[in-house]
């Protein structure tokens, strides 16, 4: 066990799985970087340096740089998966799902069902999501809502280095396609990460904190903000249960409903777009399955339903903050 960054945790998961299983390979744009050029080999390791060093151990036949052709290489990864390999594709930014969405939505996600169960699609698509870098409208989205909408896709979002490693290992071993979303603001976050290999099951939420007054659901980076908010509110004798969902699909519905039945109050904190988004999905779950227990309106703490602005002043207002989370909790307790 030692302190590792979110970035290192992911790199370690990839390395361990590639050692364990020769069918695992990596593909993406500049996941090595410098391929075919005169400069340094493995110059980048992906735009966030996550795959750095893997080329050296596994060679260019398993760490595959591609031209800028997401439809082609995501589709090729799906085709490799369906014919027996276990690719991990790096899509760089989840926003780029736009340029290869057919291969994600109509091919990867549907193959197993359309083929009457004969296909397995053990494909992991890694990508960064989230705001915080003023990267503006096309590089800051958090599109887990979009992916969760598509039956056949699993959607995973770790909230710390420990989860990053364990959930990625599980995702690679899973026989279904997994959209693995890494919050770009977290790559340098540090945390305890066991050196040995371990897998965290998908669809099992983690009670990040227990409290009796209110249930707070979140995933990814938002979990940390929720815990900060809960810390602050603990000073005021408010007890929050913070549920780190870890994956949106499969979703640990039981844990959510159980907690809401105990507290009667639910706040969902999410960085995605609100309309038809993941926060709405959880609110709907409560309305459908836990309505009798609800003692107050469900509160959604999300961005407004707008495109993501560039200016730091605006982005700060846009992304849920500890303050807005606290305010949402207090409003819900007062209702």
């Amino acid at each position: 066990m030692s302190e590792k960054s979110f970035r290192q945790a992911i790199n370690e998961a990839l390395r361990e799985e590639m050692r364990r299983d020769p069918d695992v390979f990596l593909i993406g744009e500049d996941i090595a970087g410098g391929t075919g050029g005169d400069g340094e080999e493995d110059a980048w390791g992906g735009v966030m340096g996550v795959t750095k060093g893997l080329l050296g151990e596994f060679g260019a036949s398993r760490v595959i740089d591609t031209p800028i052709s997401e439809t082609a290489y995501i589709g090729a990864a799906a085709g490799a998966a369906v014919t027996g390999m276990r690719p991990v594709a790096e899509l760089m930014f989840c926003d780029f799902a736009g340029v290869c969405f057919d291969q994600i939505m109509n091919q990867t996600a549907k193959l197993r069902y359309m083929l009457g169960g004969q296909a397995k699609v053990p494909l992991v698509i890694r990508m960064q999501c989230g705001g915080g870098f003023n990267a503006a409208a096309q590089h800051s989205q958090t599109l887990h809502g979009l992916f969760t909408h598509i039956p056949g896709l699993k959607v995973v979002m770790p909230s710390n280095p420990y989860e990053a490693k364990g959930l990625l290992i599980e995702s690679i071993r899973d026989d279904d396609p997994v959209m693995f979303m890494e919050h770009k603001f977290m790559y340098d976050d540090k945390g305890e990460v066991p050196d040995e290999s371990y897998a965290i099951p998908l669809g099992e939420a983690y009670y990040s904190r227990d409290g009796e007054d209110i249930t707070i659901c979140a995933l990814g980076r938002m979990v940390n903000l929720c815990n900060q908010a809960a810390d602050d509110l603990a000073q005021e004798n408010i007890g929050c249960t913070v549920i780190d969902l870890r994956s949106t699909s499969p979703l640990d519905e039981e844990s959510i409903c159980e907690s809401v039945e105990e507290t009667g109050r639910l706040v969902v904190v999410d960085e995605g777009y609100p309309r038809c988004g993941f926060a709405a999905d959880i609110a709907a779950l409560a309305a459908v399955r836990a309505q009798p227990a609800l003692r107050a309106p469900v509160k959604l703490v999300t961005p407004p339903h707008t495109t993501i602005p560039f200016a730091p002043t605006l982005e700060e207002l846009y992304i849920p903050s500890v303050d807005r989370i606290k305010q949402g909790i207090k409003e819900t307790l007062a209702a």
């Binding site: 390979f25 593909i27 036949s61 398993r62 595959i64 591609t66 031209p67 052709s69 439809t71 082609a72 290489y73 995501i74 589709g75 090729a76 990864a77 799906a78 085709g79 490799a80 998966a81 369906v82 014919t83 027996g84 390999m85 690719p87 057919d102 291969q103 109509n106 091919q107 193959l111 197993r112 069902y113 359309m114 083929l115 009457g116 169960g117 004969q118 296909a119 397995k120 039956p151 056949g152 699993k154 899973d174 026989d175 279904d176 669809g203 499969p250």
Partner: protein, 331 residues
């Protein structure tokens, strides 16, 4: 005889292969014709696209592939499936939406697939299967096997980003992949001559693919050229592109009156260029087979299809228990 020995080296075929090729082409034709008839009777649910007329391309290529080689196909995929060795009864069951179908009744005509035969699938999305095929080729490259993968796609699909990107990817990664573009003259109602800017071979070569034009009406030419090309690709010489001229007799989909064609166009093509007719004529003229042998195959195929249709009619439909299975392997 001249045509054969000149352009197509039919003599290189041994008799077994020759008759098997005829059987597959004939099976495709019977399969399509029956669906055409039964579809008009209302027996066949869903959207149906028939490939009757295009058999020599599918069979000419797939005769060179094993079950470990992969293909992916299009919305017009029955022919490729049969050519690749998919079970005709299970295919018919699938078309009839039965539980015993190749995809358990969940896919239908547009998603026909059999991974055990190396058939990754028909595809409802134009160009959608091309990147998937690259994945099968990538597998071969990574594992260092001599497997190849063939993407069948239409003239219309040549203008989809998925196809074009994959042409480049295949070249850059040196994938053992063949782009088999079946130019049947139309993408839906629109002539390929209008919809494709520039020249096809030049375009393919512009991506660094080795490219050639083939007469998809002539099995012998198709078979000979495909053999050569597939061998080169197997040997690691890089991806290749075939521009295959062909024609579909029926409309774009079952129900299409095909008024975008000129009067008598389809009939003329069938009369002059039918690949089964050309096969028979050439094979007989070159003494590669006897009338009797070919007739017998035709009768066998007809019986096979009688049985398949009957089986499909009788087979059980999937039910409530099947609705929500096969979404995930584990959940």
């Amino acid at each position: 005889m001249i045509a054969i020995t000149e352009g197509a080296r039919a003599t290189l075929l041994n008799k077994e292969i020759l008759l098997e090729a005829f059987r597959r082409m004939r099976t495709i034709r019977e399969f399509e014709d029956r669906i055409h008839i039964n579809s008009a009777k209302g027996e066949v649910p869903g959207f149906i696209h028939l490939s009757a007329g295009q058999e020599a391309s599918a069979v000419g290529i797939c005769m060179h592939l094993t079950h470990e080689d992969h293909i992916a196909s299009t919305h017009r995929g029955h022919g490729h499936s049969i050519a690749k060795g998919c079970d005709v009864t299970a295919m018919m069951d699938e078309i009839y939406a039965k539980r015993t179908g190749l995809c358990a009744g969940k896919g239908g005509s547009m998603h026909m697939a059999d991974l055990s035969k190396g058939m990754i699938g028909a595809n409802g999305i134009v160009g959608g299967g091309v990147p998937l095929t690259a994945g099968a080729a990538l597998k071969a490259r990574i594992l260092g096997t001599d497997r190849v993968a063939v993407a069948f796609f239409g003239d219309g699909a040549l203008n989809e980003g998925a196809t074009l990107e994959t042409m480049n990817l295949a070249k850059v990664l040196n994938l053992p992949m063949i782009f088999a573009m079946e130019d049947n003259g139309y993408g839906e109602a629109t002539p390929s001559s209008w919809a494709i800017g520039g020249e096809v071979l030049k375009r393919a070569e512009g991506f660094g693919l080795s490219a050639c034009a083939l007469d998809g009406h002539d099995f012998f030419q198709m078979h000979e050229a495909a053999g050569r090309i597939i061998k080169d690709v197997r040997d690691g010489k890089g991806p290749a592109f075939m521009h295959i001229s062909t024609y579909r007799y029926y409309g774009h989909f079952e129900g299409d009156a095909a008024t975008y064609r000129s009067e008598g166009e389809a009939e003329k093509m069938q009369k002059e260029k039918d690949c089964l007719m050309i096969f028979r004529n050439k094979a007989l003229a070159a003494d590669l087979a006897t009338e009797k042998e070919l007739d017998e195959i035709e009768q066998q195929v007809a019986r096979l299809l009688d049985d398949a249709v009957e089986h499909a009619r009788q087979a059980p439909a999937p039910g409530a228990a099947d609705l929500a299975t096969d979404v995930y392997v584990s959940y």
